[in-house]
Assembly symmetry: C2
Homo-oligomer: 260 residues x 2
DNA sequence: CGATACTGTCCTGTATAGCGGACAGTGTGT
DNA sequence: ACACACTGTCCGCTATACAGGACAGTATCG
């Protein structure tokens, strides 16, 4: 995750490493274990954890396990308030999930990975594929192809590390094929993949665009692969409509008339 | 906010100051302005902002205004998932707001301040008193009294800075009176204040308790001060029931059977 | 026009933050 | 009983992160 440098690391980098690690493990963790996991000296991490606990960014429970603290909640609240994308995207996802009964997600890129930003489970009993916030290689997903639509082939090659083209089952995606997929997604603004990251799941997605027509997120359904094609096309139409809906609401500047 | 020390500051402290300042202003802000606001050298802040932007903790828009980045959202998502308090508290607040038509809030302490963690506006047109995440002196609020119920008088004195006893209109709350209020709240687990932070608003609150019977949050209504006492008592009963409801669900360990 | 106030980048010296390691305490296995 | 693996605290050395300022560029003002 961090640089391989063997030299003394900065406090800031340690902080980032700590937070990223907690996100990755998604569990409270002992301070010593945390230090080991991110390859940092224990003394440094003890210090940092104390400082961040004081500020509420982290929290230490009665067994001295470290995890995120209340401050991140308030920071996120402010973040969400400034991003209509999330507010409206969530609303649409919840609505679609109710109307169609399918599991609906809002997805986005985070650095060079793909992640689920929000998920609303459907009414049918259907297992959850991936948790919110877990980072996944972009080529593993239908949405990932849509989210790259705004980029040139060269920058896509630069962005995605080679190992990300290897699927969980060992198959390797050809980069040329992938770029072709992206180009196709660019034109239609919709993708449908079958058994990509998971053999029994089809993923349907439509892109949410910002004012410059860049894909900033996708809204998608996770449906059983056995779902008839006609039904899937129908669902995809719903997604495209919903995405357009959200996109159109992003044009209003969020804090244009805000007080100083 | 930070120490008054004139010496060189740590990177970590700068990071915390930056995040806290963004929370306080609740707006994207220029880098130079940010540096000035927290009393830090510009060069340091440029550096830090760049680093934090890379990690997604901050975001810089096209006008080079800095604000929270997507990472905080995912950290908060993890935080919420590990805190049943928030999930259940939110649900209850939304339900109460629907049932009663009143503005409902979940409130908690953050360091030595009081803050609204979640707010669900009521059906009636009623102005919003305070935004989510804004820090308010504890003595200004009804909920604050409940939230201190687990502490001794001495630790309360140590916690709250003297200036926090001065109300916005200039009146000063006597510390003894305040401690008496807290003691009363401790017994009944409910508070009602009239025109404390605002002359036309009554605040009704009940405490949500953790497994050790410490108040970890409150659930409260903001109603017009003119609301008849009988009606207010009725609403308070609802709050107490809701709080008990949430409290009882906090006893289950959130990640007891979680996978490694 | 010059004056003032920004902004973003780059450089250099030194106060100090982070590292490594020692230490005592606790628990668990044999 | 000992060995081993922890944990949390403390301390001194030194590589370096931070502060401070210089710099060029841009914008607004009268």
């Amino acid at each position: 995750m961090s640089e391989i440098s063997r030299t003394r690391a900065r406090g800031i980098d340690r902080v980032v490493d700590v937070l990223e690690h907690l996100r990755a493990v998604r569990h409270p963790i002992g301070i010593g274990e945390l230090a080991r996991a991110i390859g940092a000296p224990r003394s440094s991490i003890y210090e940092i954890v104390e400082r961040l606990t004081d500020s509420g960014l982290l929290e230490v429970d009665e067994q001295n396990q470290v995890y995120f603290g209340p401050s991140v909640y308030f920071y996120a609240d402010a973040y969400l308030a400034s991003h209509p994308l999330f507010r409206h995207g969530r609303d649409e996802a919840i609505r679609l999930s109710k109307v169609t009964g399918e599991t609906t997600q809002i997805c986005m890129l985070l650095g060079n990975k793909y992640t689920v930003a929000f998920m609303q489970p459907g009414s049918s009993l259907f297992r959850i594929i991936s948790e919110t916030g877990v980072l996944v290689p972009i080529p593993w997903t239908a949405s990932g192809r849509l989210l790259l639509a705004g980029m040139s082939d060269d920058s896509i090659r630069a962005l995605i590390p080679p190992e990300d083209y290897v699927l969980p089952d060992g198959r390797v995606i050809d980069i040329k094929d992938f770029l072709t997929d992206v180009a196709a997604a660019r034109l239609t603004n919709r993708t449908m993949t079958l058994g990509l990251s998971d053999p029994y799941t089809a993923c349907l997605a439509a892109a949410i665009l910002d004012e410059k027509a860049h894909a900033v997120a996708t809204i998608c359904f996770m449906v059983p692969a056995a779902t008839p094609l006609e039904k899937r096309e129908e669902l995809l139409d719903e997604l495209v409509a919903a995405a357009r809906n959200v996109s159109s609401r992003l044009i209003d500047k969020p804090w244009a008339a805000a007080p100083r």
